[in-house]
């Protein structure tokens, strides 16, 4: 089992009133699953994804990731954990505009303190795998949205994560670009990478093996 969420609650206080963002979330994820989280706007999809990705905390409950109790971990350990095992893909790509495609891909490796030759090899691999060798020296603004997201996925994959968290990865793309991206996710999943995506689209959700529906922070 990759991760397990037990009775997760998350709330914020606004003006003395408690607003629940997540209420009593329970589910397990096995390695190799492709899960889609769906629900209307404001239902807590992204919050849940961020909790899973350890970018955000929660107020109550237990979260075990690869047999580590995330809720008991210190910030630094938590960061180490997600850096090692989780890759993120964002709706608006979040590539660094000042860096070229190649340099964007290289960045996570820099923070892992890998050697230059190793980094080069891994980046070259990744460029190859996604067929973007020809674009390696371009800056993100010179690419189409689909291509940028491709780079975003490549960047998420480069450090060999076990889990990819994608927050509406096709939200900013047109349908054909979207399909291409979803195809890539499917392939990745078949190669054994666990994927959790947040999506609005039923069609995209169908790529997954399982769907979790949220409404007002609660699983339905």
């Amino acid at each position: 089992m990759l991760l397990q969420l037990n009775n997760i609650f998350k709330w914020v206080k606004t003006g003395g009133q408690q607003t629940f963002l997540l209420k009593d979330i329970n589910f397990n994820v096995e390695e190799g699953e492709f899960i889609s989280i769906m629900g209307p706007s404001g239902s807590g999809k992204t919050t849940l994804l961020n909790v899973i990705g350890m970018l955000d905390g929660f107020n109550e409950g237990e979260y075990n990731f690869m047999d580590e109790s995330v809720h008991d971990l210190k910030e630094k350990h938590r960061a180490d954990l997600y850096k090692r095992y989780i890759g993120f893909v964002f709706q608006s790509y979040h590539l660094l505009d000042e860096l070229t495609v190649q340099e964007n891909l290289e960045m996570p490796l820099l923070y892992k303190k890998l050697k230059g030759s190793e980094r080069k090899a891994m980046v070259a691999d990744m460029l190859d795998r996604f067929n973007i060798v020809g674009k390696k020296d371009l800056f993100p603004t010179q690419l189409s949205g689909g291509q940028q997201q491709l780079v975003g996925i490549a960047r998420a994959l480069i450090s060999n994560p076990k889990l990819i968290l994608a927050d509406e990865p096709t939200g900013n793309l047109n349908s054909s670009q979207g399909e291409e991206i979803m195809g890539i996710f499917k392939e990745l999943n078949e190669e054994g990478v666990t994927i959790i995506q947040v999506t609005h689209s039923e069609k995209n959700a169908e790529y997954g093996t399982r769907t979790i529906n949220l409404l007002d922070g609660r699983m339905v």
């Binding site: 961020n50 970018l55 955000d56 630094k76 960061a79 850096k83 993120f88 964002f90 608006s92 979040h94 590539l95 660094l96 000042e98 860096l99 340099e103 290289e106 960045m107 996570p108 820099l110 923070y111 892992k112 303190k113 960047r155 450090s159």
Partner: protein, 803 residues
């Protein structure tokens, strides 16, 4: 990794060219100004540091009830040396009154030139003060009578690169001409409050005779006395013995005159910066200016750093996304801190390079206004210091954005939300107000100085200072050929009037005596300065004769006549109407003499406007030598007239070189310090405004960015461009007005403090404050206007488009 950081930093720099250049240039200007000021301060504080045993060398000065003199009486040094064994050596130095130009001639009379800054010293001078000799030997120099030591420059002017030791040179003053043997040439690398070009032995046939006559005369305080105490003797203990010494020698005399005199010591190292008494040898520096300049340097640097910090932070917030992304991708806090620190260091280094270029560019100009010869490489340690300063600036100004940004939660910044706490905003505003306060204060003080300088130029001085030609008139035959010269010159219709005398208004007048009227006694005699002049002096200089007459052409008739100014007339107990024909008396030792008042002139400012008008008299020069020939010129054909004067001059006085200045120019040298201050204050005013503008610009770009969404919403809801622009402008203007409010009393106080230097001064009017406020607002408008307007006309759809 570092390569990656540098790459990012460099690309960021290029991406925001305007922003980066403003930021870098702002810091560079701050660093450059600071560097210049530090150079200046180092130079000013380097005076008299070279003397061997400098901490044992003192100057004796005199304090009486109403003033302090840098000088002492003639017998002082001999008597001190005789009575106090703790004195290792003592030396006397004489700046002879009314001689500010020495005419130097070589043997063949082929070379002749005027030299200033010539002083008479005794044979022990070089044993007390250290001079670095290029030729000759300080230990033996000036031991013999009629010897002279020259400065390097003077020697070069005369002899070129030849060693001039043992050559002779003729030195002519209004008191006669003497041949001197050159005993040495000293280097002028070391700075001293004595900026000598000629050091002449006191034992000589000319002025030397007068010096000898001063033996035993305690009333004439004209000699500077320098002494070196023996090792281990205390200056304080020595000073305490001096009152008894004074009592022994002049106690009775002082008691009779009912005055008190105290003699005290001042360390030689303090003279240049801290001493400002009567009869200083030269214009000294001022500790106040050192403090002011240090404060300005520190202020400018701090402000520049703060701006740098502010702009970096403001811009870094645009980079929040990068921070968030880096964190998600595995960056920890340290690596981000390191990255941002590195970036600001890089910017600082670029600033430093630009600053050094700026300093080199502006050095000649700065040297010109400060009258210095500063070189950037003069103090190698300074370059290290300023490099260190840039480094610290980089660290300090990088620190805040580094920690601020790296502490963001990635999830918040990735959402594009950056909530600024109110306190951070207020700090920014506070900084801008602070900067504008300083700028506004400098604008105000600059305004005060400007008004006062205008006032100094335009005030009716009571004499005519325009187009008055001053020609140094050092010539043994001057007295005889004066009439010939004058008559020849007056034939030219462009020369309106001509005269000669030993002084002119604005020069330091060293001749003085104490007069008392018929109804008074010597006890309440009036200390009066006087000039000795020839006929037409009052007319030429444009004094208003309100009673009596001018001196006649016949020298003997007026040898006992006096023309007094109104103040002197009042003080000796007469009025302008009654004074003519009355007598005044003066006593020298036991001899009582009398003179007759033949004229009264309206009060005029014979000194600079720093000082109130005092008692003043004109006496006839008689057969004595004048020092200056003065001619009033027509306002036409100035150059041609001067040419024709020169030819007449050379005909009549072939031995005296023709040199000239104008009275108004000479008079303005009294305001040299003020002129310098004003230039410096104007300069800093511009720099401070520039830096404050950068600060304001930073704030504006920051807040307009922050309010983008708000502006978009307002626009969508129907606000006009005008209302949005004025809404934002109002915010900035409020800050500027607040700054004005703080600056006004500060500037009022500082301005008045400065004005206290003048007996005649402007009063600071409200108009100045209104004008300064107007200027400050205008500047603020120009700085933020474009940005605010740009933000207002931006397409609201764009700024509202969600991430």
């Amino acid at each position: 990794m570092i390569k990656n950081y540098i790459k990012i930093a460099w690309r960021n720099l290029l991406k925001n060219k305007l922003f980066s250049s403003i930021n870098i240039f702002g810091l560079a200007v701050g660093l450059a100004t600071c560097l210049l000021l530090i150079l200046y301060i180092l130079d000013e504080t380097s005076y008299d540091k070279h003397h061997v045993d400098g901490d044992r060398i003192y100057r004796v000065y005199m304090e009486s009830e109403d003033n302090s003199l840098a000088t002492t009486a003639g017998p002082m040094s001999t008597e001190l040396k005789n009575e106090f064994p703790e004195i290792e050596q003592i030396a006397t130095f004489l700046k002879f009154p009314n001689v500010d130009k020495f005419l130097l001639k070589d043997k063949s009379l082929e070379k002749k030139l005027y030299e200033t800054n010539g002083y008479y010293v005794d044979s022990t001078f070089f044993q007390v003060l250290s001079y670095d000799f290029k030729y000759g030997n300080a230990n033996t120099a000036l031991k013999k009578p009629n010897t002279i030591v020259l400065s390097e420059e003077t020697a070069f002017k005369f002899f070129g690169d030849v060693n001039p030791i043992s050559k002779t040179i003729e030195v002519e003053t209004p008191y006669g001409s003497e041949i001197y043997t050159i005993d040495g040439v000293f280097k002028t690398d070391n700075k001293s409050h004595i900026n000598a070009k000629l050091l002449i032995s006191m034992k000589n046939g000319g002025i030397g005779n007068w010096v000898d006559s001063q033996e035993g005369i305690w009333g004439n305080n004209l000699f500077h006395t320098y002494l070196k105490l023996k090792k281990g003797s205390s200056e304080l203990v020595f000073e305490e013995k001096l009152p008894a010494f004074v009592d022994r020698h002049i106690g009775e005399q002082l008691a009779a005159m009912n005055v008190e005199r105290r003699y005290l010591l001042q360390p030689i190292k303090d003279i240049y910066l801290k001493s400002n008494m009567m009869w200083e040898i030269d214009q000294n520096g001022s500790m106040t200016y050192i403090y002011i300049f240090s404060a300005i340097a520190a202020f400018l640097l701090i402000i520049a750093c703060i701006n740098f910090m502010n702009l970096s932070t403001a811009r870094s917030e645009k980079r929040a996304k990068e921070v968030g992304m880096r964190k998600v991708l595995g960056a920890n806090k340290n690596s981000l801190v390191f990255q941002f620190l590195g970036e600001s260091l890089l910017l600082c280094l670029i600033s430093l390079v630009i600053a050094i270029v700026l300093v080199m560019l502006f050095m000649p100009f700065f040297n010109d206004i400060t009258n210095k010869e500063l070189v950037l490489t003069q103090y190698p340690s300074l370059l290290i210091f300023i490099g260190g300063l840039a480094l610290i600036t980089g660290l300090l100004s990088g620190l805040y954005p580094a920690f601020y940004l790296s502490s963001f939660k990635p999830i918040t910044v990735l959402k594009g939300k950056l909530i600024n706490t109110i306190s951070a905003k207020n700090i920014r505003k506070g900084l801008v107000v602070f900067q504008f306060t300083i700028s506004a204060a400098l604008i105000l003080v600059g305004g005060v100085i400007w008004q006062q300088m205008e006032f100094l130029q335009n005030k009716d001085m009571g004499f005519k200072k325009e187009r008055q030609l001053l020609i140094p008139y050092s010539n043994p035959n001057a007295a005889e050929n004066y009439s010939t010269l004058k008559n020849e010159l007056l034939k030219d219709p462009n020369i309106l009037s001509a005269t000669a005398g030993d002084a002119y208004p604005g020069i330091q007048i060293l001749s003085d005596t104490s007069f008392y009227g018929e109804e008074q006694t010597n006890e309440n005699a009036t200390w009066t300065r006087y000039a000795q002049v020839l006929d037409d002096y009052t007319q030429t200089l444009g004094y208003t004769l309100i009673a009596g007459r001018d001196f006649t052409k016949n020298n003997t008739v007026d040898s006992l006549s006096l023309i007094l100014n109104e103040t002197a007339v009042r003080k000796v107990g007469y009025t302008a109407e009654t004074a003519i024909g009355k007598r005044v008396f003066y006593e020298r030792g036991a001899i009582k003499s009398e003179m007759e008042i033949i004229g009264v002139v309206k009060d005029f400012n014979f000194k600079s406007l720093h000082e109130p008008i005092d008692a003043y008299a004109l006496a006839s020069l008689g057969d004595n030598q004048p020092s200056y020939f003065i001619a009033t010129l027509n306002d036409q054909n100035l150059a041609a007239t001067i040419k024709s004067i020169e030819s007449v001059w050379n005909k009549v006085n072939p031995d005296t070189p023709f040199e000239y200045t104008f009275l108004d120019e000479r008079f303005n040298t009294n305001y040299k310090a003020e002129k310098q201050t004003s230039t410096v204050v104007y300069g800093f005013m511009l720099i401070a405004i520039f830096i404050a503008c950068i600060g304001l610009f930073g704030l504006a770009s920051f807040t307009t960015e922050q309010r983008k969404k708000e502006v978009g919403i307002r626009r969508v809801l129907g606000a006009s461009i005008f209302s949005i622009t004025s809404m934002q402008l109002k915010d900035f203007l409020r800050l500027v007005m607040l700054a004005m409010l703080v600056a006004s009393p500060l500037a009022w106080f500082l301005g008045n403090r400065w004005l206290e230097n003048f007996a005649y001064r402007i009063s600071i009017g409200w108009q100045l404050f209104v004008a300064a406020a107007f200027v400050a607002i205008l500047i603020a408008f120009i700085t933020v206007g474009a940005q605010v307007f740009k933000a207002a006309i931006a397409n609201p759809v764009k700024s509202l488009r969600a991430e």
